[in-house]
């Protein structure tokens, strides 16, 4: 039992480690009033919000998501915002 418990914990840590290693930072550009939709999609994919800025009439939201979710996030945003957004990988200046 003890061994089983240990193995299961080890497995969890390993899975978490793999997932944590596999995150990426994304940047979403959309209109100011779309913050709600953006936050819903990021949250649905267990993402972390990192920063918000405004550029002209647009919001620039940077978030951390699991890499495997990149396309899912795009699809989620598309279903709520149509083509009125831009999603990219974020590169630090």
């Amino acid at each position: 039992m003890l061994l089983l418990g240990f193995k299961s914990k080890l497995l969890k840590i390993l899975i978490l480690f793999l997932f944590c290693m596999d995150t990426q930072e994304i940047v979403v550009k959309a209109e100011m009033e779309d913050m709600g939709s953006i936050s819903k999609v990021i949250q649905d994919h267990k993402g972390d919000f990192l920063s918000i800025d405004q550029e002209g009439n647009f919001l620039i939201v940077i978030a951390r998501i699991f890499s495997k979710d990149f396309e899912n996030v795009r699809n989620g945003l598309k279903s709520l915002l149509g083509d009125n957004f831009k999603l990219d990988l974020y590169k630090k200046k």
Partner: protein, 511 residues
């Protein structure tokens, strides 16, 4: 030019900025502050006592004695009636003095405010640049009918000049530091320093004024702006020398909404200021990492808006998208970092059911934050929730008129609920939330499960207030403690002065 600002009940950062901009350009500013005890639109309303301590007539006399060229009101919806009363009184005594109403209420319903006899001009949106241009021109007796951000009324012809909103300036670092001295004689700055590191909010929650600002500033400049670390630290250092305050209160809508800025700011703050501070943020912008960073920099309390725990309702009606899991994670991150958590909830929302309240209570009982602030929904003009409620039939045209005229009760004082059954439910729920933070979980759960909580409205307000005072003292919530001290000091001073038959209302004379 001699400009008299008027305000009531609490400190107002907006007025402090307006005054500092005018002073920088050579104008004289004065503050006439009405303590408005027991009807301060901030926390406490006791009608009988508020009549006893009423100072409005003295406020009017004080303004008249200052012989102003312009009297300026910064008006929240809650204090619109007060401002109207004072403006009317002053106009009766000095009819030629110009009056300007600015702030969120006039910005929301300018058409209605400008129509009042006692209002000559209305300021729309952020006021620093507009007010300065207006005062400069007024002083030189130039035409003031075409200033962006100012609506003007021609008293002869009755014509209204509805000028467009002024495009916002990106550079908020260039605004002079707020004029704290104007409130210092009434609400000593040494007790805690109120500061904003940013302006604007990216969210558009339907009940909040940002809902309106996000709309009116679309295409009119950058609404979401942040000050540089250097600018904020320079302000805090200069003011620390002047006022020797021991705590800082960041009043930004979302203090933690920029990772890189936050990291840089907190490191510098710790090094250069090193005072305990409190801030407000959104559950989306809280994590274990941020909670630890805040704690290390001296943060002792964070307020988070929850508002409702019915996720689908919250999304549809309030336009708030954070899940209960996210609120839970944010609260636990703060608790783990040993930072006090204040959660804010709104009761009395349109179509809210008793089941919603029971579920919310169970959620908070499990979470057990340091404190829960439960507010009753008070509608603010031109916010989206007003339209939603009109469509649902929760409010009608008469209530809409009352909302636009500032006639609703405050959010801590019954808000916009009219039905007695709902009022009792809201009061019971609010009392329950006051208790769940200190009662053992099984006891709280028993109250909820047995339905006993729905009779809590029978508990006298005084008992709940005493319990809240106890919590405040235990948790050492400095703002509330200062508020109590302020009441004690001001009441004593007023009573003494009433006996001496002199006027209490003081002015901050500054040049």
């Amino acid at each position: 030019m001699r400009v008299v600002f008027l305000y009531m009940g609490a400190e107002n950062l907006g007025v402090q900025y307006l005054s500092s901009v005018l002073k920088k350009h050579g104008h004289e500013t004065f503050m006439v502050f009405d303590p408005a005890l027991f009807n301060d639109k901030y926390w406490l309303t006791v009608n009988s006592l508020s009549k006893f301590f009423d100072q409005k007539k003295d406020v009017i006399d004080k303004v008249v004695n200052l012989n102003p060229d312009l009297i300026a009101f910064s008006v929240f919806t809650d204090c619109y009636k007060w401002a109207s009363y004072i403006a009317k009184g002053v106009k009766q005594k000095i009819p030629n003095v110009a009056t300007i109403f600015g702030g969120i209420h006039p910005t929301s319903v300018p058409e209605e405010v400008i129509m009042e006899d006692f209002v000559d001009y209305v300021g729309i949106g952020e006021g620093e640049d507009s007010l300065l241009e207006f005062v400069n021109k007024l002083e030189k007796k130039e035409d003031v009918r075409h200033i962006p951000g100012i609506w003007a009324k021609d008293t002869q012809s009755g014509l209204i000049y509805r000028n467009p909103i002024r495009v916002l300036s990106d550079d908020i670092d260039s605004i002079p530091f707020p004029d704290k001295e104007m409130f210092n004689p009434h609400l000593p700055i040494k007790n805690g320093y109120m500061i904003a590191a940013s302006r604007g909010c990216p969210y558009s929650c339907t009940f909040c004024s940002n809902n309106l600002y996000n709309k009116i500033y679309k295409g009119n400049g950058k609404w979401l702006r942040r000050r540089s670390t250097k600018n904020i630290i320079d302000e805090l250092k200069a003011m620390k020398v002047k006022y020797n305050f021991d705590k800082v209160d960041f009043v930004d809508d979302i203090f933690t909404c920029h990772r890189d800025w936050l990291k840089e700011f907190l490191e510098t703050y710790k090094k250069e200021i090193n005072l305990p501070f409190k801030c407000i943020t959104h559950p989306h912008f809280m994590s274990d990492e941020i909670a630890v960073q805040l704690k290390e920099a001296g943060c002792y309390a964070v307020a988070l808006g929850v508002q409702s725990t019915n996720e689908s309702y919250k999304m549809k009606v309030l336009k708030r998208y954070e899940s209960n899991d996210k609120v839970r994670e944010a609260t636990q991150a703060l608790k783990k970092a040993n930072v006090s958590v204040i959660l804010q909830h709104i009761v009395g929302l349109p179509d809210e059911t008793k089941q919603d309240l029971v579920e919310a209570a169970n959620f908070y009982i499990d979470l057990k934050p340091t404190r829960i602030e439960c507010y009753t929904l008070a509608y603010f003009p031109a916010t989206e929730i007003v339209d939603i409620s009109l469509a649902k039939g929760t409010i009608n045209q008469d209530i809409l008129k009352s909302i636009n005229a500032g006639g609703e009760n405050m959010y801590f004082d019954g808000g916009s609920i009219r039905e007695i059954k709902k009022q009792r439910e809201a009061r019971s729920f609010s009392h329950l939330l006051s208790m769940v933070t200190f009662l053992p979980r099984p006891v709280s759960k028993l109250f909820v499960k047995s339905g006993l909580w729905s009779y809590f409205y029978l508990i006298p307000n005084g008992a709940i207030t005493l319990a809240e005072v106890g919590i405040v003292l235990l948790t050492r919530e400095h703002r509330a403690i200062n508020y109590m001290k302020y009441y004690f000091r001001t009441c004593t001073s007023l009573i003494v002065k009433m006996f001496r038959k002199t006027s209490y209302v003081a002015t901050g004379l500054q040049k």
